[in-house]
Symmetry: C2
Subunit: 384 residues, 2 copies
């Protein structure tokens, strides 16, 4: 198997793109990544997307986007894994290059969510949950996360305010990211007084519904030497769990996140302590806590302490969501996993401006689908 | 790269499965394939499906099906490429095994279409066409194929009856396939008198809307020697074209089918004349003709002559749809590409009963999405 590097990245602002169709949005990211890499040929294009059929009235995104970007003919299809679709598509690209089946691969994550009313989007997002055993009882993804958060607070004796710093740090980091949805600082007061969506989840616990596209260009590391600065993918793992909460071994352990991270550490040959920053899946503040615990950054029940003690800030022990995360940058679901990889690459290249960490060597991303049923983890390394 | 073999196959009858949920249907095929292979461990499960979100109210099929089959935790996600989703998923499985990223991979194609009214299904299938430039004008997939067929008949001076034998042969071959949707012979009279759906396409030109699931188990050929009879995958290609007809170089040439087949011949190191039978994508009779021409079995405009002269029958020069094809076995869209590979494997194993070809060595399958925008071709070889 060959080592795989990222030689180009591209992204659109995360926003409400009512003036652009799905293909335009995707092409903006793809062409930016291709230009960044400075390549003229592409062997394959993989699309991470969840809801194009339901919201944009369009499936069959592979050829649609490939053709619109000028790559008519290349191998192309869509990968769907709910909110982890983006990172699952990155994984498919990684496998094709690592295995020697393709030399230059573009992966694009794209989602347009704001063309539809909120109720339609909430209903569509629930397609990630168990449609036979959860959704018919009225459980949306927000409701599922609310159940998790209630139980977590009960088990560990926590208050809603204990989760505030996840959102506050995300908003803080988003301020200097020109592509982020929000550029406003968040106060504890505003966090606490935000309207409740599903008890105990408030509006400021939740990532926003947005449009966006992000893309990367992959090639074998041995062919990436001419491309500076390239970033190496040391690990790419996808692990699954059951969809429904009631079937899980434990409500408060994200087993797939745990195994996905462990497998990634092993594949990369690194240890937890080697990771310099973590682009995590803070779709809700409870997911932020559970993801930190699953990956080993905190003991079970101690995730919120990392936030409270400032350990997740840019100058903390394990900086997270360094460009705003899902809460601050936004969560265009099928694109999110690619945004995470793009932002980690920006950090490892030293291109994060005000948010730049001091010479990070290893960055980790974790993309979660359906409250933990699909978890894709990537570990990236700065080139020498 | 490693050689890849098929060591297990499974399928459900193609029918109206109102008594089974999507996960049940998929599991029936997966567990049959796993039992056929006699394996106990699976590294990954890839799902080919197009319409689960629109019709079954369920996305996120990867973990849903993996968990339900007893493979909780394995890498799993859905691949979507319209009606070519099944073969695209086979390709993803092939790449993972060939590249050395996984040793035992299950690929399942599943589609449940009959739970919804016909109009909903027709509208959902149109998600494979261009949602900005084709569908708003009222073009469904049937209408698109009707335009192609009209032009084809005009260019080559053909009558509707010239297409009859594609459907007649498919129905004939389906009679002895216990998993086929139809078990009745079709006469020229019945073909010609069938109601018109979209001029000139009649009901008997079109494959039926059905439910079904099919699965295969893949592993490296060097590990397949214990599994008899295994079948080797000599080529696996996915090629794309633009979605919309008006953007094509030529209306009557399926360029993606042409390039996909040529690439497959090259990859397999075989020539057209070596192919013993062809599981083609006869979603409509016009697609049967165009696919035969694209692959080189007939000159442009001469596809129907193959049918007229009996060359596509089981005892003809190039037998097609040997177990009934899309017209006779049925076309559960995201599952069809896997059914084709399963049936080709049955032929190469010598397990086709009344429909068995005399010792075929090479079989080809071609799965087409969206009137030619995605084409996946596979060439399979009987084990020694």
């Amino acid at each position: 198997m060959r080592d795989v590097s990222i030689i180009g990245i591209g992204q659109t602002p995360v926003s409400e793109h009512w003036d652009k169709s799905l293909r335009h949005l995707a092409a903006d990211a793809v062409l930016a990544a291709v230009q960044d890499a400075g390549i003229g040929r592409v062997d394959a294009l993989y699309v991470g997307n969840m809801l194009s059929g339901e919201i944009a009235g369009q499936e069959h995104l592979g050829p649609l986007i490939a053709d619109f970007c000028g790559f008519r003919g290349v191998e192309a299809f869509k990968i769907e894994a709910a909110c982890a679709s983006g990172a699952a598509a990155v994984h498919v690209g990684y496998v094709a290059v690592a295995g020697g089946l393709a030399d230059v691969v573009v992966v694009v994550g794209v989602e347009k969510m704001t063309d539809e009313a909120g109720a339609v989007v909430t209903g569509s997002l629930a397609l990630a949950a168990d449609g036979d055993y959860e959704v018919p009882h009225g459980l949306s993804l927000v409701a599922i996360n609310a159940l998790l958060m209630q139980r977590y607070m009960y088990e560990y004796g926590l208050r809603h305010e204990d989760f505030a710093n996840f959102a506050i740090v995300a908003h803080q980091n988003a301020i200097n990211n020109p592509n982020a949805r929000f550029h406003s600082a968040l106060t504890l007061e505003r966090f606490s007084s935000a309207p409740t969506i599903a008890e105990p989840i408030g509006l400021m616990d939740a990532s926003p519904i947005v449009d966006g596209a992000a893309a990367i260009v992959l090639c074998p590391t041995e062919q990436a030497r001419g491309f500076t600065p390239s970033v190496r993918i040391l690990a790419s793992t996808v692990v699954t769990d059951c969809l429904s909460l009631h079937d899980r071994q434990s409500l408060l352990r994200l087993e797939a996140a745990e195994y996905s991270a462990r497998k990634a550490y092993r594949q990369a040959g690194v240890e937890l302590k080697d990771i310099d920053f973590f682009e995590y899946h803070d779709a809700f503040t409870i997911m932020a806590a559970l993801s930190l615990e699953a990956c080993g950054f905190a003991e079970p029940g101690k995730g919120t302490l990392l936030a409270r003690d400032g350990e997740i800030a840019l100058d903390g022990r394990i900086p997270v969501a360094t460009m705003g995360g899902l809460k601050g940058r936004g969560h265009p679901v099928g694109a999110t996993g690619v945004y995470q990889v793009v932002e980690a690459t920006q950090q490892l290249r030293g291109h994060c401006g005000e948010n730049q960490l001091p010479q990070p060597r290893l960055g980790m991303t974790q993309n979660i689908g359906g409250s933990g049923a699909t978890v894709a983890t990537h570990i990236l390394e700065a080139s020498e």
